[in-house]
Amino acid sequence: MSDVVIAVRALGLELGGREILRGVDFRVRRGEVLAIVGPSGGGKTSLLRAMNYLTPFTAGAIDIAGHRLEPGMSERRHAALLCAVRTRVGMVFQSFHLFPHLTALGNVMEAPRRVLGRSAEQARRSAEELLARVGLAEHAGAHPHTLSGGQQQRVAIARALAMEPEALLLDEPTSALDPRLRGEVLAVVADLAAAGQTMVIVTHEIPFARRVADRVLVLAAGEVVEEGVPEEVFDRPRSEATRRFLGE
């Protein structure tokens, strides 16, 4: 079954007269892991944020989780549609953005309680399970500032998973961490991939992308310069831009 969860169609993004993205086109199928790589400033993060409309785009369209995002939508006028998309699509940020006034458990429980209307008991049980899954069962009562960066990012992943998203968007989940903490986060993401979680990951970790991704998309100067399975893209790059990026 080849049902497409995300279809990005001829996406363009212009910001202050500068073209950030141009003609970006790709699909993500259910259970697939797509890694987006490429040089800094190439538009990777903008592309990811456009997929749940945190960054509005100016051309093309995105079909995601059964809804269509289009240019010119506003937080106020399209609140219902945007909430529906974001409820079905999770996001993990580079710098975690945990809620500092809530405990780890509170962070994970918040959205299922308030958005999905789950009972406190139900939300707590599944939050505890998720924290256990990311290896933080014993830190449920801790506030974010008492946790290490790696632990915080794992709470953030659990928080996104608590909504049982059709797709998970991860924006450079390990770049804010020092090298010895990256492994624990990457291990969690690899587990999710193995379990069949649909994911789009913006990353700089080429070995990790090679191991976990089903397909790799290379974005440079706002355009898709290459797309394919990791072995092809990393071992036999066809485009000059990819070769230059991998050579760095």
Partner: protein, 481 residues
Amino acid sequence: MLLLLAPAIAHADALERVRQRGVLRWGGDMQGGEPYVFQDPEDPAALRGFELEIAEAIARRMGVRAEFVQNDWLTLVPALERGDVDIVMNGLEVTPGRRARVAFTRPYYRFRETLVVRADATDVEGLEALRGRRVGTLGASLAHEMLRQRPEVEVVLYEGVDEPYADLEQGRLDAVLLDHVIAERYGLTRPGLKRAGDVGQGDYAIAVRPDEPALAAAVDAALGEAMAAGELEAILRRWQLWDEEQRRLLAAGPAVGAPAPARAGFGEILARVHVSLFLRAAGVTLVISALAMALAVIGGLGLSLARRYGAAPLALAASLYVELFRGTPVLLQLYVLYFGLAPLLRLDAFTAAVLGLGLNYAAYEAELYRAGLEAVPLGQTEAALALGMPRRLALRRIVLPQALRVALPGMANDFIALLKDTSLVSVITVVELTKQMTITAVDVRSWLVPGALCALLYLAMSYPLSRVARRLERRLLPVPR
């Protein structure tokens, strides 16, 4: 030691000092208004008034120049005692209480206490009819002293001469008792008010420090000469103050009153300061503060949200509100709310006090929340939205709790400031802690004991608050991320 002796030396030869300086400094309050001493409406830099002319007549006869010194009416006698002025002349009534404190010259004017009521009132005539009614007057006046003899009357104290009549017309009072000079100029000129009889009389005289008999005698003699020469009569006639009573006063011409008895001792003052009155006034202060703060917290939240998230006209209105209420004195706002808007909106004094302070502090709270909201990083909102939260929910559950943590210590500090600002509501006749202190101070003729008690009560209320504020600051700042 030298400092202690200084006033004694200064007082010893007051008359000589005045002559050497060539200036007789006389104390009064321009706010008392026409006809006593007031700013000339034609030329705001100049003063006019019948007392100004009397002062000049006296100074001329003493061979010096008269110089007016502005002072709050309630503190004229303390200013005299401190040596800020040589004499006080400003409708100062000769009362037994004042006699115990200052030396008076012969009187220069005899007035009647006039009761004024609304024109449609039929059942108020004389003091007996005032039982259970609200009667306005000036604090520390002879009328105030007369009314205090009758505990069954509810006395409301004012600081200006026009406001009690305005309130009487508005129905906030049942009657006003004041000197006929004031009643005729400020009360009976209003079509809705009428005279309900004169209930007594009294004299205005010039006050001099009791330990300066030479100065007192010289001023009294100069006044006597002005009377004998017909100059006083001419002045009073010019100001339409002359009547048969004044002729009798002139004929009598009593000399300086007996020397003042010794000041009341410390123990005597203590015995006359009623702690229960202070406790009740402190209660009024606390209740007004708490209600006004509640209003400010809720109103401020609305204002800051309107400014940050509201549609353009709403945000603009909220900004204007904040600038208006922060940029003008709260005292002015209280005057406008209570006296200015009275024809449209007749608030009782307590409600006006809570509303006035609450509306003012709402502007400050709005600024605190704004700082708090700005301190919450955008990433927090994005993370909430990315979880599918609607904007309102994200604001309520994620952004506001963090913003409030930033604002909370400032709010506690504002509450302490508000507690002290309640002293301003005495201008709209609310008797709170500071007002109670001034009433008692004038009553027992000491500012020290009532002042200390007043300060103690403020501290008892504000100190626990500042402890809470400091603890909040320690616990909540910096917001850990």
